[in-house]
């Protein structure tokens, strides 16, 4: 398949020369522009870069040497492929031309085939340069340092792009041929061995490697980088490591932050769970004490009372004086039994365990010396810790309403929805109640918070008191 034509600029002051070059190139399918001198050539080059320039060495005005120097000195034109035509009679001209910056030369007179061959070669070089330029632009713009280095322990750099300065704080020139420092020297000491081994293993297995490790930035801080690379075989049996290094410190920091947050959340959850366990253990102890009192002391008191009554019925016939004394003792025993019963009930209301929060609160309300009403209540039993916490909040609030609030009525609401359970106790008393460290409600806020809950008291002076406890309820 014939190559598509190239853009060629011919610089020739004399008509015959121009024709001699122009005709065969046109016939070969190239697009040819001609200008008469070096200055016009510069103008034309700036208008549109050709693939190849074919210029006379000897020319009026700006000659071949001037043109070559101007082209090489201009960053925009520098990569242009320039072929200079020199007289074969003056062999030293060729060396001069190359010295001045020409890429190639043609000795006049020349064969057409040679001209076409030189132009074709020039064009290939030009294309190679263009792709190199694109690669350089790409390397400069990729958000990572692209490198080629020797596969040695120092990572001796053949080339490394400017981005390495942003990543490491050291200019790229420092690393080229390890001029100032080796790349290995900026790898974090704790990561060096791991990086070396991973690269070595990957090269041995002839597969690419991806690594995350720390480097030491010039500012003294550690940075996290991601490196991708692989072993490549070059000419002359040489091998290289080609790859790219990216700064991933921001991502790493975000990950660290997330991990820290998760750890903190886990710690808070564990703290809450341990508090819940402590409270649960205390509740279990209260239940046990109540049961022990009930099954032990209370039973025994009743049994003793029975025996004493038995004795009393005999004494009444035989020793009426002693019987009177015994009756007094029995009354005292009765009061002790009552007190013990109320003590046990206060330690733990058995009804709460056996019939649940709602029944236990109803029983509380029925013993209140004031008008009280349970408005709303869930039909289902709630988990035991939830019921216990809400029970004590309600009991304490009702006690406060009776003792301190000078209230005439109090309402209780209990609810449960969407993983939360709550109790609200509202009275119409004098208000101005405060939840302080030493108060009964203050002690209960620990219990509520252990269930991921909150205890709030609203008590504006003269406008009643509303206590609200809300806890998690799965």
């Amino acid at each position: 398949m014939p190559e598509p034509g190239a853009d060629i600029l011919v610089v020739a002051s004399r008509e015959p020369v121009a024709l001699e070059v122009w005709v065969p190139l046109e016939e070969a399918g190239h697009r040819v522009r001609t200008v008469a001198d070096g200055l016009a050539a510069i103008t034309e080059l700036k208008r549109q870069l050709p693939d190849v320039v074919v210029a006379e060495w000897e020319a009026p005005g700006l000659d071949g040497r001037g043109l070559c120097e101007a082209v090489r000195g201009d960053p925009e034109l520098r990569d242009t492929h320039v072929i200079v035509m020199t007289s074969s009679a003056r062999a030293e001209r060729a060396a001069e031309a190359l010295e001045a910056g020409a890429d190639d030369y043609l000795a006049t007179p020349f064969e057409q085939t040679e001209l076409l061959a030189r132009v074709r070669a020039g064009r290939r070089t030009s294309q190679l340069r263009a792709s190199e330029a694109r690669l350089r632009a790409l390397m400069a713009n990729v958000p990572g340092a692209i490198y080629r280095c020797a596969p040695d322990r120092e990572w001796t750099m053949e080339l490394i792009s400017d981005e390495i300065e942003r990543i490491s704080g050291h200019p790229p020139a420092d690393f080229i041929d390890s001029a100032v420092r080796t790349f290995a020297s900026i790898i974090h000491p704790d990561d060096r061995e791991r990086v070396e081994n991973a690269v070595f293993e990957a090269c041995k297995a002839r597969r690419p490697f991806v690594l995350e490790y720390r480097i030491q930035h010039a500012d003294g801080d550690a940075r996290w980088v991601l490196e991708r690379g692989q072993l490549v075989h070059g000419t002359n049996g040489r091998t290289w490591l080609d790859g790219a290094i990216f700064d991933i410190s921001a991502r790493r920091e975000a990950e660290e932050e997330r991990r820290r947050r998760e750890a903190e959340q886990a710690r808070v959850a564990e703290l809450r769970a341990s508090r819940a366990r402590i409270i649960e253990a205390a509740d279990a102890a209260r239940r046990r004490i109540e049961r022990d009192l009930h099954d032990g002391a209370q039973q025994r008191f009743v049994a003793v009372a029975l025996q004493l009554r038995h004795l009393l019925s005999r004494l009444q016939k035989t020793a009426p004086d002693a019987a009177l004394l015994l009756e007094d003792a029995l009354d005292e025993l009765q009061r002790a039994t009552d007190e013990l019963r109320e003590l046990a009930r206060g330690i733990h209301p058995a009804l709460l365990t056996e019939r649940g929060l709602v029944r236990a609160v109803e029983a509380l309300i029925s013993r209140l010396p004031m008008a009280a009403k349970l408005h709303e209540a869930p039909k289902e039993r709630l988990p035991q810790p939830v019921e216990t916490a809400l029970y004590y909040v309600i009991a304490e609030s009702l006690t406060n309403a009776c003792k301190h609030a000078d209230a005439s009525a109090v309402t209780v609401d209990i609810g449960c929805a969407q993983g939360r359970a709550w109790a609200v106790v509202a009275d119409d008393g004098v208000g101005d109640a405060r939840m302080t460290e030493g108060s009964g409600l203050g002690g209960l806020s620990d219990r509520v918070e252990a269930l991921d809950g909150r205890l709030t008291v609203q008590s504006p002076p003269g406008r009643g008191t509303t206590v609200r406890a809300e806890v998690a309820c799965d």
Partner: protein
């Protein structure tokens, strides 16, 4: 009168049995847990089962549950439930199917021999025996203004409370220190206000008590 006594504390159970036997009852069975109680009550069909609320196996309210089960399977067996605490909730459960042959008392009342044996006897005769503390609690719980009970005068309420304890008109008269006739007048008024005129006398009494205990409205 034949009894089964269920109480897990051996000391107390033996005390109870001796006391009841001396008072002239025949104790035909004794039980130390709920299962044994149900078995013996259904086998012996006593006039009354005297039952402690808290008993094995779970030591919570096994006795109460057993008493309800006996009522369901053998309605002729009266149950007198003894409890360290009286709970309105338990009273409602016990009385859900009627107050006839049901008693619910604080446990330590057993030391008051006369009161206790009277209660056992009333339950055995198909009456009811409720602890005054239960009555007090229920009265507090039934103060809703839309209740039919709201129409009763304080004196009528006192009379009804004593009826609920299971007392006869004579007993009520003694307690309130009024004449027999005055109590009869109150009782008639109570029946009328609760809309129970057309019901036979004995049944009326039970219904009135029930209505009172449940705090029925209307």
């Amino acid at each position: 009168m034949r009894l089964v006594v269920a109480e897990d504390s051996l000391l107390l159970r033996e005390g109870l049995v001796r006391l009841l036997e001396e008072a002239g009852f025949e104790v035909v069975g004794q039980a130390g847990d709920a299962d044994e109680l149900i078995r013996k009550a259904l086998a012996h069909k006593p006039d009354v089962a005297v039952v402690d609320v808290r008993m094995p196996p779970t030591n919570t309210d096994d006795g109460l549950r057993a008493a309800l089960e006996i009522r369901r399977q053998a309605p002729g067996v009266g149950v007198l439930v003894l409890s360290a605490y009286v709970e309105e909730a338990y009273a409602h459960e016990l009385l859900a199917d009627g107050a006839a042959g049901v008693g619910y008392m604080l446990k330590h009342r057993v030391a008051d021999l006369q009161r206790f044996t009277e209660a056992v006897r009333r339950v055995g005769e198909g009456g009811s025996a409720l602890d005054p503390e239960v009555i007090t609690q229920l009265m507090r719980g039934n103060r809703s203004p839309d209740s039919a009970l709201a129409k009763l005068t304080p004196r009528e309420l006192d009379t009804l409370a004593l009826m609920a304890e299971g007392r006869s008109n004579l007993g009520i008269a003694e307690q309130l220190v009024v004449t027999d006739r005055a109590v009869e007048k109150h009782v008639r008024s109570i029946f009328s206000k609760l809309g129970l005129d057309a019901v036979p006398e004995d049944h009326r009494r039970v219904l009135a008590v029930l209505r009172y205990l449940r705090g029925d409205s209307g």
